[in-house]
């Protein structure tokens, strides 16, 4: 032990931002080091607690890190947040304390505190191993472990050891950690968004002089990087003993934007604690509790620990996803037709597709892909995608699907979160994957020369997988409760979320669509709508993918659609509203043969965004025999409800958009809004009650991927999915959607939903589009209508009194404080149909407070 300067424990300086001085106490552990040591800790001192959180900070922070966790603690939860000895405001002992000593220290402290009832450890950074060391010695008392951006092992490929070695070069360590506050300040610089100055100062408060910072250098020095390090064996033991915590609930909360403890460490911990719940706070960095609201994850997680495990409704046995294809394995007729540019066509028969799926399945298995292995498929809809998809499903691999519309950055984020072991794609995708360092062993769908393969860092290619799999036995199939897919939502409301589906849920989705549109073996499908392009083989019917750009549904022309329909005599067409709009615009360019082909279509289904009746009517002119349907749903559950054009025309006026009756087997209920626009329970099916639309269905998502908090919030009551849409059920049991929860305006007279007013206002002859937003504090907001006129000027302005009167007349009972006119709406980059209301609301707030007008 080197000797350093000593000083007693003290209470923190008064007035530190967000820190209640009543939480601070000094506790002496009398026998430690033979002389007794005094600790500073934060303790809300709840008596007879339901559970105690033992919060352990890392380096170079202190218990201040946990102030929000204490502040938000329920009345029956005790929170004890310690300052390690020689850290924070605890005693400066003059000694050097290594990992094993720090575990001993913590055990001595909790003995002194005499904690009763279950204890859940909560730790960050190097507090992680210390807390786990404590946990392993207190298994009888241990209620759970919560870990944030920490490690018990250096996984291969991490740059952290290099960084640490750099800091540890002679002279550097003292200089950075001890003699100057560089390390403390550098850590604060990692906060995202950057913490406010009073908070940064509070973190620095106990480390203002070199003699108070010695332990910061000691901590860095104590990180084992090789076998000879004295703490290596201690850390290895802690890591190895994690398998004994298999029955202890665990929660891993992670800031992915951490240059030190990157996702690699999360995957390492997740592999050691396979039962752990995981939540990645997208955008948060190293100082997780500072960057993210961790308390709002921890407390609900504690609450559900005691609760019963939700039982998913018993579902009937359904056919595996590949059975429809297998049944036609002797059938040489067309299964999938891929239409390329310039009339190029490529097709595969059911027999060949089935054989190819089995070959690739065996090839993947040969490569090491097994049940549960994640395989990202960055392949355009078509034959290759179908082969890879059904091959993965056939052997229980979990496919990861990412909407190409997310863009390179969004795809990267999604893949970082899903962390696939393999990534299959075309040249463009594997090139991007290499350049952007996307995770996963890269597999190209086409043959490439050796040089090119090496340049792209490719292992095998799809043709090679076929070769390897040729003649191999088909590996064992998964069961219907195994996970089948992680599908990333479009991310219109924040970062894209991975939605987890089991085989049974995708089977149920296939069956729901078959039932809804009465799909028969004689039918054939043209799918210009992503999710459903994959179902042809599963339904055992031929399908064609028209020539269009995947990232831009508006690139589908009437000719391309008609050619696809004609090629397979399609009876079913699935297309997004954007694609249909473009089809309508280009309808005049069709040849008589193309026009005739469309007249044979039996069902047209358009999903992906609300479909205006007017659009369906025009499409109906092109497909006179077709029933025109618009299903309602979302990535998490689709379809929920369905409405046909004739039903749309028969529906009386109401508030919002009528999306039709819930389909067979789907339960829809409303979570009523309270006066502040917050959804409440119990759910109701009573007509006319406005609230969040909640859904239960066999084809509903299983959960969200590594987003425990979001999954928990979206699954109340247990077994339901909260859609985030607001609406009501009418007397005829039809569902109406009135907007998004986040777009509700909360006025003093109660919540106001936007869509009804928006539709009424946009019916005015001189208005094309309208957005209803709220300004002012929640609960006392004013309703503002922002509108785009048919002949917009160049500048945003207040509507004149005449227009304001007409808009107010459309709003009925709702008091509209102001009507603003803008040249155009800002739209979400990826969804040209979705207007960016958040931005419009911010703009309106500024203008109506007397700020600069500009434009939204």
């Amino acid at each position: 032990m080197t000797s350093g300067s000593t000083s007693p424990a003290t209470l923190p300086d008064p007035g530190l931002e967000g820190l209640d001085p009543r939480w601070s106490r000094l506790v002496t552990t009398p026998h430690l080091d033979g002389v007794g040591r005094t600790w500073h800790l934060l303790d809300n001192q709840v008596e007879e607690p339901r559970v105690t959180l033992l919060c352990v900070h890392g380096n170079p922070t202190w218990s201040y890190l946990w102030r929000d966790v204490i502040a938000q603690a329920p009345a029956d939860v005790r929170v004890v947040a310690i300052d390690h000895l020689d850290m924070g405001f605890s005693e400066r002992t003059g000694t050097t304390r290594r990992l094993d000593q720090r575990v001993d220290d913590l055990c001595a402290l909790t003995d002194e505190l005499d904690l009763t009832g279950p204890v859940v450890t909560v730790a960050h950074d190097w507090g992680g191993p210390i807390s786990l060391g404590w946990a392993q010695r207190h298994k009888a008392q241990l209620g759970g472990v919560v870990l944030m951006n920490t490690a018990v092992h250096q996984p291969a490929g991490s740059p952290a050891p290099t960084l640490i070695r750099m800091v540890r070069t002679p002279g550097m360590l003292d200089q950075i950690c001890e003699k100057t506050p560089t390390f403390v300040r550098g850590t604060m610089a990692l906060t995202r968004p950057r913490a406010a100055r009073p908070i940064r100062e509070a973190y620095e408060a106990p480390y203002r002089s070199a003699d108070r910072r010695k332990a910061i250098a000691d901590f860095v020095e104590d990180i084992p990087l090789d076998e000879s390090h004295p703490s290596q064996v201690v850390l290895d033991t802690i890591a190895a003993d994690l398998d004994q915590l298999g029955d202890v609930p665990a929660l891993l909360l992670w800031g992915p934007s951490d240059p030190v403890f990157s996702d690699l460490y999360l995957w390492d911990l997740a592999a050691r604690l396979p039962h752990a719940d995981i939540h990645r706070f997208i955008g948060a960095g190293h100082l997780t509790p500072e960057d993210a609201d961790v308390a709002s994850a921890i407390y609900p997680w504690l609450d559900q620990l005691d609760g019963a495990v939700p039982v998913s409704p018993a579902d009937q046995e359904r056919e595996p996803l590949w059975t429809g294809l297998e049944r036609r394995s002797g059938d040489d007729t067309l299964a999938i037709l891929e239409m390329g540019e310039d009339g190029e066509e490529e097709w595969v028969s059911f027999a060949d597709l089935d054989a190819d799926v089995k070959r690739v399945a065996a090839g993947l298995a040969d490569l090491g892909v097994t049940k549960g292995t994640r395989v990202a498929l960055l392949i355009q809809p078509g034959i290759d995608l179908a082969v890879c998809l059904y091959a993965c499903w056939r052997i229980g691999a979990v496919i990861v699907l990412v909407d190409a519309g997310l863009g390179v950055k969004g795809i990267g984020r999604a893949l970082a979160s899903a962390n696939p072991a393999y990534l299959i794609g075309g040249t463009q995708a594997v090139t991007a994957a290499r350049g952007m360092r996307w995770p996963g062993v890269r597999i190209a769908t086409m043959s490439l020369g050796q040089a090119k393969k090496r340049a792209l860092g490719l292992r095998p290619t799809l043709p090679e997988l076929r070769e390897h799999g040729e003649g191999q036995p088909t590996p064992p199939a998964p069961t219907s409760v195994d996970v089948a897919a992680v599908v990333f939502t479009s991310g219109a409301t924040g970062p894209a979320k991975g939605v987890v589906y089991k085989h049974s849920q995708i089977q149920a989705q296939r069956d729901a669509i078959v039932d809804l549109y009465d799909i028969q073996p004689e039918d054939s499908l043209v799918a210009a709508f992503g999710p459903f392009a994959l179902f042809g083989p599963a339904m055992g019917i031929p399908s064609a993918v028209p020539n269009m750009k995947v990232t831009s549904p508006g690139s589908l022309t009437a000719q391309a659609l008609a050619d696809a329909v004609r090629a397979i005599d399609a009876t079913l067409v699935f297309a997004s509203p954007a694609a249909l709009r473009s089809v309508v615009e280009t309808a005049g360019e069709m040849s008589p043969l193309q026009v005739a082909a469309l007249t044979r279509v039996r069902v047209l289904m358009s999903a992906g965004a609300p479909v205006p009746a007017a659009l369906l009517r025009v499409v109906g002119d092109l497909m006179p025999k077709a029933e025109l349907h618009s299903p309602y749903g979302m990535t998490e559950v689709l379809p929920v409800a369905d409405i046909s054009l004739s039903e749309m025309d028969a529906v009386p006026d109401g508030n919002g958009v009528c999306v039709g009756h819930p389909i067979e087997g789907v339960q829809v209920a409303i979570s009523p809004l309270d006066a502040d626009g917050v959804p409440t329970e119990p759910l109701t099916r009573e007509s006319g009650i406005v609230g969040e639309v909640c859904v239960q269905a066999a084809h509903m998502r299983d959960g969200y991927d590594r987003l425990w908090k979001i999954e928990n919030e979206a699954s109340r009551p247990a077994g339901w999915h909260r859609t985030g849409d607001v609406g009501h059920i009418d007397e005829a049991d039809r569902l109406w959607v009135e907007g998004r929860i986040g777009h509700i305006v909360t006025t003093a007279d109660g919540p106001v939903t936007p869509i009804g007013i928006e539709h009424a206002v946009s019916e005015l002859p001189d208005i094309t589009q309208a957005a209803v937003v709220g300004v002012g504090p929640a609960g006392t907001q004013q309703v503002v209508v922002v509108a785009v006129p048919t002949s917009p000027g160049r500048r945003a302005t207040l509507a004149d009194e005449g227009l304001a009167d007409r808009v107010r007349a459309e709003a009925g009972e709702v008091d509209v404080a102001a009507v603003l006119i803008v040249p155009s709406f800002p739209v979400d980059k990826r969804h040209n149909s979705k207007i960016d209301r958040t931005r419009i609301a911010r703009w309106a707030e500024r203008v109506l407070a007397g700020g600069r007008v500009g434009r939204p």
Binding site: G776, T780, Q782, L848
Partner: protein, 341 residues
């Protein structure tokens, strides 16, 4: 009428209410409401008002006159005050601060049990935008201008007199208007007539106002709820903020005049207003200035309030909407035109 239900006092005895400043728009409206519901009403004011009630003539700065008017009174609605845009501090202090002290002190001596003081939201306003704001505490040190500062001091005097024996409530109506209003409506119409009405900034700042009948009903409601609300201050508005340009235009339209065309950028109006403040103060000019810094702030920044607590506490809601108010204003202008050749 009492549509909003101010409760009658127990026992059924006629309530004797004194209204100060009853010649003002809101004062006379309160007198009429109280009379209609059967209260015994007397008034204290400087000039005869022609109301059919007991009239005490006198200045509230004159303690003897106030004490005389207070004899035998159960409740007081204290409206009187100096509301000019400019003038020396001493004038505001005398009427608003000393006058209010005279009213509350003589009321206490006379055994008055309820007192409602008509205050102003400006007492808590330091010049920033108010967006769905709660009623903050009166703050004379930061209130803008002599009027707001004197009203703030007066509100502290009034609420300081709240006790077990006398409940005092401060009600802060924001921009009262209606037929016969010489303050807001009168000034806007005068300026519009002479082509001097300007829109400050974009004209989009949301401003709360209150129609006269609603303000009077809120004051009467406060009288009824005084025992529960003693010591509190509440802002009352129509709960329908509108862009300032719309309010000006609708008043001008109701008066049958041309819409204003002049636009003044906010920074210019504000700077100009500060100059005017100094000049008018320095030269002791009594007439209305074209612009003051306070007025520029009023016109160029948002001023609207959270009405939830007010409505709960007073058990009151506005009964006349803005639309209905503007219709009544228009008919009033038309009948005025018809009677004045």
């Amino acid at each position: 009428m009492g549509r909003t239900g101010p409760r009658r006092w127990a026992g059924g005895a006629t309530v004797r209410v004194l209204v100060t400043g009853a010649t003002s728009l809101v004062g006379s409206a309160v007198v009429n409401l109280l009379k209609d519901r059967g209260d015994s009403v007397s008034v204290l004011q400087r000039r005869p008002g022609g109301l059919d009630v007991t009239e005490h003539l006198g200045d509230i700065a004159d303690r003897t006159a106030v004490a005389t008017a207070m004899v035998g009174v159960d409740a007081v609605v204290h409206v009187a005050g100096r509301a000019a845009a400019t003038g020396e501090w001493e004038l505001f202090e005398e009427t608003n601060v000393l006058g209010t002290r005279n009213v509350v002190e003589t009321a206490r001596t006379a055994g008055v049990t309820r007192l409602v003081y008509v205050s102003s939201p400006s007492v808590a306003h330091s010049g920033r935008s108010l967006v769905g704001a709660p009623a903050g505490p009166a703050d004379p040190d930061h209130a803008r201008g002599h009027y707001a500062r004197s009203k703030a001091q007066a509100e502290l005097v009034a609420l300081g007199a709240n006790s077990d024996s006398m409940s005092v409530v401060a009600i802060r109506p924001h921009l009262i208007w209606g037929p016969g209003d010489t303050q807001l409506v009168g000034r806007i119409v005068d300026r519009a007539r002479s082509g001097r009405l300007a829109i400050v900034g974009s004209g989009a700042s949301l401003i709360d106002t209150i129609y006269i009948d609603n303000a009077a009903e809120a004051l009467v409601a406060a009288l009824g709820r005084a025992p529960e609300l003693g010591g509190r201050a509440l802002v009352v508005t129509n709960g329908q903020p509108r862009p300032i340009r719309e309010i000006l235009n609708r008043i001008v339209i109701a008066a049958g005049l041309e819409l204003p065309r002049i636009k003044v950028p906010y920074p210019l109006a504000h700077t100009g207003g500060i100059v005017v403040d100094r000049v008018w103060e320095h030269r002791k000019i009594e007439s209305d200035p074209p612009m003051t810094s306070f007025l520029a702030e009023q016109l160029g920044t948002a001023h609207w309030f959270d009405q939830r607590e007010t409505r709960r506490s007073l058990e009151w809601r506005p009964t006349v909407t803005l639309d209905e108010g503007f219709r009544r204003l228009e008919s009033w202008f038309q009948s005025e035109l018809a009677t004045k050749p």
